[in-house]
């Protein structure tokens, strides 16, 4: 295939990728977007394979293994495990970029600007690789999900990063000093691990988005090194996408963006816990809850990570069906950082076939809470804590929350009164209008469904 034709293939592929993202803006056109992305990818791969001077044995082997792993990864993963899968795919993407950079370096004769691009590519690639594997381990709960913090952590991490960058710069100036290369790689890998160690579960949405951005930028740097504009464009699109998502997540948690860029987050201090006095919360049985829900006109459901853990989305759907049939208006309020990755709750509720026009963003639904008869909180905690609005001493003060406490009554399904990830007590639980429904979300919802349907039959 002639060089011009190949360039044309890449150009069309880039256009298709842009259209693909454009069509993602609404659920109505999103599947067309996937199709455009696939077409662009196919065009780029076929074009590259036909460029001539190629031998194919190894490529075929790689294609077979890659597809063999990829297909089950796409179809067998339960929807609750989507954050893990995403972390894993960031690791794969970053690894590919890092290895290409490594191979290019060992081919020799690289210098100047290309060497700069290669170093950026490998630094981002290797640190995103181990970082994403760590994130995967935490999400899969192979590793402890609690943040691991120790003294001088930030200083250690920053000096490690500085050392990695230092060796990188030295390699740019003296590419022939090959002994420095393994050190550079090892430092990058180690930095990726230590970057994720202090991250707790509730910070995962930000981290996943950030790793997404890094993986994209690594691919972009590869584009600079290989002077391939398609790679530059696709990498930039991915990089800016991850960047925006992490900004959105930051805002939703009232964190500063510099905080995230340096990875020095996940350390909400656990000081506020000790001082709270003994207060009492009211609890209720599934039957009592069913009665209240059945009598309501408007119910707003607030799902959180607890719903995902308990796999309660299908039971929730049964309750939704029953109540809707009985004339109750049921809506869903989704906080941007609910769950373990951006949009996590929406996917789970969609999986349970809850229509997406019932799912509302925080800003759209907050004005509805005063009209709601019941706010039903399922496995969400900090995102409903009124302390974020009116208690300046609270560590999450200033974080935008769902105004659950403004509803006429509140029900919270939760395993126990224990504080959430951030270790902050939630005054919502002790309000007069709040009923605590203690138990496993799935089992409890099952109980409510049973109770509601028995009143139907009676």
């Amino acid at each position: 295939m002639s060089e011009n034709l190949l360039e044309l293939c890449y150009l069309v592929a880039a256009a298709l990728f842009i259209l693909s993202l454009k069509w993602m803006n609404s659920p109505a056109t999103a599947r067309r977007g996937v199709f455009a992305g696939e077409a662009g990818m196919l065009l780029a791969i076929v074009g590259t394979l036909l460029r001539g001077h190629m031998q194919y044995e190894w490529i075929v082997v790689a294609f077979v293994i890659g597809s063999g792993v990829g297909v089950p990864l796409a179809y067998l993963m339960p929807m609750t495990a989507v954050p893990q899968r995403t972390a894993l795919s960031h690791a794969f993407g970053a690894l590919a970029a890092a290895l290409v950079g490594t191979a290019e370096y060992y081919k020799g004769q690289t210098s100047g600007f290309i060497m700069v691009a290669l170093i950026v590519e490998m630094l981002l690639g290797y640190l995103t690789f181990t970082g994403s594997l760590m994130a995967f381990g935490k999400l899969q709960e192979i590793l402890p999900t609690r943040p691991i913090v120790y003294r001088n952590q930030n200083i250690l991490n920053l000096s490690l990063l500085a050392a990695a960058v230092g060796f990188g710069v030295a390699l740019i100036i003296h590419p022939e000093q090959m002994w420095m290369f393994p050190i550079f790689v090892a430092l990058s890998l180690l930095f990726g691990v230590l970057l994720i160690v202090p991250i707790g579960g509730a910070d995962m949405p930000t981290v996943i988005a950030l790793l997404n951005s890094y993986a994209g930028l690594a691919a972009c740097a590869m584009g600079f090194a290989l002077n391939n504009k398609l790679l530059v464009i696709a990498g930039a699109l991915d990089g800016s996408s991850g960047f925006i998502l992490s900004i959105i997540m930051c805002r939703a948690m009232n964190r500063s963006f510099t905080n995230v860029l340096f990875g020095a987050f996940g350390q909400v201090q656990m000081k506020a816990v000790a001082e709270h006095e003994q207060r009492t919360a009211r609890s209720a049985t599934p039957e009592e809850a069913a009665e209240i829900l059945d009598a309501a006109r408007l119910v707003i459901v607030v799902p959180g990570y607890g719903m995902a853990v308990a796999q309660a989305q299908h039971k929730l759907r049964e309750l939704y069906d029953l109540l809707t049939k009985r004339g109750v208006d049921v809506q869903f309020a989704i906080h941007p950082v609910a769950g373990r990755m951006p949009g996590h709750m929406n996917v789970l509720l969609a999986e349970a076939e809850i229509p997406y026009d019932k799912l509302h963003e925080m800003d759209d639904i907050n004005s509805e809470f005063p009209q709601a008869d019941v706010a039903l909180v399922i496995g969400a905690n900090d995102v409903t804590n009124p302390g974020a609005r009116n208690d300046p001493s609270s560590p999450i003060y200033g974080m935008p929350i769902l105004d659950v406490d403004k509803a006429r009554s509140v029900m919270v399904i939760k395993r126990s009164l224990s504080p959430g990830f951030a270790g902050i007590d939630n005054e919502l639980y002790y309000m007069d209008k709040t009923l605590m429904l203690f138990g496993d979300a799935k089992a409890f919802l099952g109980g409510i469904v049973k109770a509601v349907s028995s009143t139907v039959n009676a």
């Binding site: 990728f17 693909s20 993202l21 993602m24 659920p27 999103a30 599947r31 996937v34 992305g37 990818m41 590259t48 394979l49 001077h53 190629m54 294609f63 293994i65 597809s67 792993v69 990829g70 297909v71 990864l73 989507v82 995403t86 795919s89 794969f92 993407g93 590919a96 970029a97 290895l99 191979a103 290019e104 060992y106 081919k107 290309i114 997404n212 993986a215 691919a219 590869m222 584009g223 002077n227 504009k229 790679l231 990498g235 930039a236 699109l237 991915d238 800016s240 996408s241 925006i244 989704i334 990755m341 951006p342 929406n346 996917v347 969609a350 999986e351 076939e353 229509p355 026009d357 799912l359």
Partner: protein, 97 residues
């Protein structure tokens, strides 16, 4: 190999375009969006293919290239498929109930 400053312009324009495009994506679709951009950034496969398929490549290049193609291919296949699987689940209430 010569690097042109055009690449930098391309990067800048693509990044701005990316910001404008992603800003418009509804938060409803943030999870599928992430798996889609992930699949798209597996375009790194192009660089890997060139390495793995080079006629007179050294063993090191060949091995690294092949592993890179495998990793990218896994992302391409699983990324596009799972995005579509997720998007298929998003349905509007057609009022049939």
């Amino acid at each position: 190999m010569q690097v042109s400053e055009t690449d930098l312009y391309v990067f800048m324009l693509a990044a701005f375009l990316g910001f404008e495009l992603i800003r418009r994506v509804s938060p409803l679709l943030h999870t599928p969006l992430m798996s889609l951009t992930n699949a798209i950034s597996a375009i790194a496969v192009v660089g890997s293919l060139i390495l793995a398929g080079e006629k007179d490549a050294s063993t090191l290049t060949r091995v690294l290239g092949t592993v890179a193609v495998t990793a990218s291919m896994t992302n391409i296949v699983s990324g596009f498929l799972i995005t579509d699987r997720m998007l298929k689940m998003f349905k509007k209430d057609r009022g049939k109930r």
